[in-house]
């Protein structure tokens, strides 16, 4: 009898331990976000968003940082989306059984595991030095595009996999070519899933700091970038720079910058989750 009791006890004990573990991470996150809001919320005003960086904490703003982040977001999207979607379509629809496709597949799994700072070293040598882009927006965007390419490819493949074969057969039966089938039937049907993957990948890109430090993005840029060849800074760089200073006023600035960065990240992730749910509900094959 006591054996049964102790088994029941263990069973229940783990239940509460499991609940505790599930929430401990979330509670830490909540404490942390609360802490940041208390520190930084009062610092955010119109001037903070429109001021140039400054050596004086009270006058410093994030204008160059958020415009840099916007530039990077746009350029990275232009480079990574067509390449990633095209590669995903090729792997899923064309090269299912050939050798090249299987090599590419193993390779993508490996690339997804390469630390982001290594992409920085690649960008430094290829884009900054050999192609001579310097520490420009273009070099940063190319580096981040390579970094998020595996995410977009994998998401595209998953979305295409979910499209049933009957759709393809029906299209072929109407006399459509392979590309016509993909362009008019498969891609529209998979667009929700692909879009979700793209947004998650881009949200990853704007949070990255390490590869941009390596390619030589600057912490102090006193002007707003006008062309892709300009030097730049981004929000995470600006936050890193402020965190590294000993004065408390700069820590407050960093907290305020983090609020803006988290806002962008959460909005992007929220859109992605919304699209995923909507898409999953709609599809009834």
């Amino acid at each position: 009898m006591s054996k049964i009791k102790s088994n029941r006890l263990k069973d229940n004990a783990f239940k509460y331990f499991g609940i505790f573990c599930t929430f401990i991470g979330l509670v830490m996150l909540a404490i942390f976000i609360g802490n940041i809001l208390i520190e930084g919320l009062g610092r955010i005003d119109y001037d903070f968003l429109t001021n140039l960086p400054s050596r004086k904490a009270a006058k410093a703003g994030i204008l160059t940082a958020w415009t840099g982040t916007a530039w990077i977001l746009g350029l990275t999207a232009i480079i990574a989306i067509p390449l990633g979607v095209a590669a995903g379509v090729y792997l899923e629809e064309y090269g299912k059984k050939n050798r090249l496709a299987s090599i590419v597949e193993i390779n993508i799994a490996n690339l997804a595991g390469v630390p982001s700072i290594i992409y920085g070293l690649l960008g430094l040598e290829i884009f900054v030095r050999i192609l001579n882009f310097g520490g420009s927006l273009l070099a940063g965007a190319f580096t981040l595009a390579l970094l998020i390419l595996p995410i977009i490819i994998v998401a595209t493949r998953e979305a295409l996999k979910a499209v049933p074969d009957s759709l393809r057969q029906a299209s072929y039966g109407m006399g459509a070519t392979k590309w016509q089938t993909i362009q008019y039937q498969i891609l529209p049907a998979a667009s929700g899933g692909i879009l979700t993957g793209i947004i998650l990948a881009l949200s990853r890109a704007i949070g990255e700091t390490a590869p941009l430090i390596v390619i030589g993005a600057l912490a102090y840029v006193p002007f707003v970038a006008k062309t892709p060849m300009d030097e730049f800074t981004v929000l995470p760089m600006q936050i890193f720079n402020w965190v590294s200073r000993p004065q408390h006023e700069f820590v407050i600035n960093a907290a305020a910058g983090i609020i803006i960065l988290l806002l962008i990240t959460f909005i992007l992730n929220g859109i992605a989750v919304y699209l995923r749910n909507k898409w999953q509900k709609k599809v009834n094959w």
Partner: protein, 292 residues
Amino acid sequence: MRKTKEKIIEALLSFSGLITILTTIGIIWVLASESFSFFREVSLIDFLTDTEWTPLFTQKHYGILPLLSGTFLVTMIAVMVAMPIGLSIAIYLSDYAHRKFRDTVKPMLEVLAAVPTVVYGFFALTVVTPFLQNIIPGLGSFNALSAGIVMGIMIIPMVSSLSEDALRALPKSLREASFGMGATRFQTAFKVAVPAASSGIVVSIILAFARAIGETMIVAIAAGQQPILTMDPRDAVETITAYIVQVSLGDVQHGSLEYKTIFAAGITLFVFTFILNNISFWVKKRYQEKYE
């Protein structure tokens, strides 16, 4: 006409696939060529056995061991935090929780992985370190412990989500057989489900290791910049990634030996993550049990 168009499109698409292979070749070529010229000036034996790493000082030593010990110290702390918590979450969600609860909590946990790492670095430096200083007297403002704990929190969803997938992929009959024998949920989870899903769980832990080794911003902000050979979590340490950041922030001449050190450090990092990733592929393939 239509046929040529189809061919051209297929060629364009396959070219995009090739870009990913070119990326890998590019990474290996860049790391290998710069490291090669580094090892013409510094002997490989010194690199692997010297216990000091001081390329930026006048008295120069090029031993990677202090950077490796720093990297592994922080990584171990992170995995020791993430593994028990992540696994408990996975077991709880797969074997105890209601479906509805699981479906709400899982995306919430994913938020932990979506937060930019520079934000975690801020958290480690301004919240966790001051808190730990209350408990451990004399703890410096930069230390491996705080960075490791925060990194552990960051990789919890990685362990929990992959392990939970593995646990949930088990056929219903396994658990039903165990319940039929009168086992509790606890016994079923630990004596039947976890052993049966062990390959997936091992994979999730290996991938968590690989992620922690390559993590940069948390350690660059909170762990310090002292490359010392130590296993004391209270010490300030420098990881491989933090060293690359330190050099990149400074003004180092292209082509100088200091410049090449970041590629030598980078190739060391790459080798470790590459090996870990491939072990995980191998485990997944070799030990995945097939249930009908």
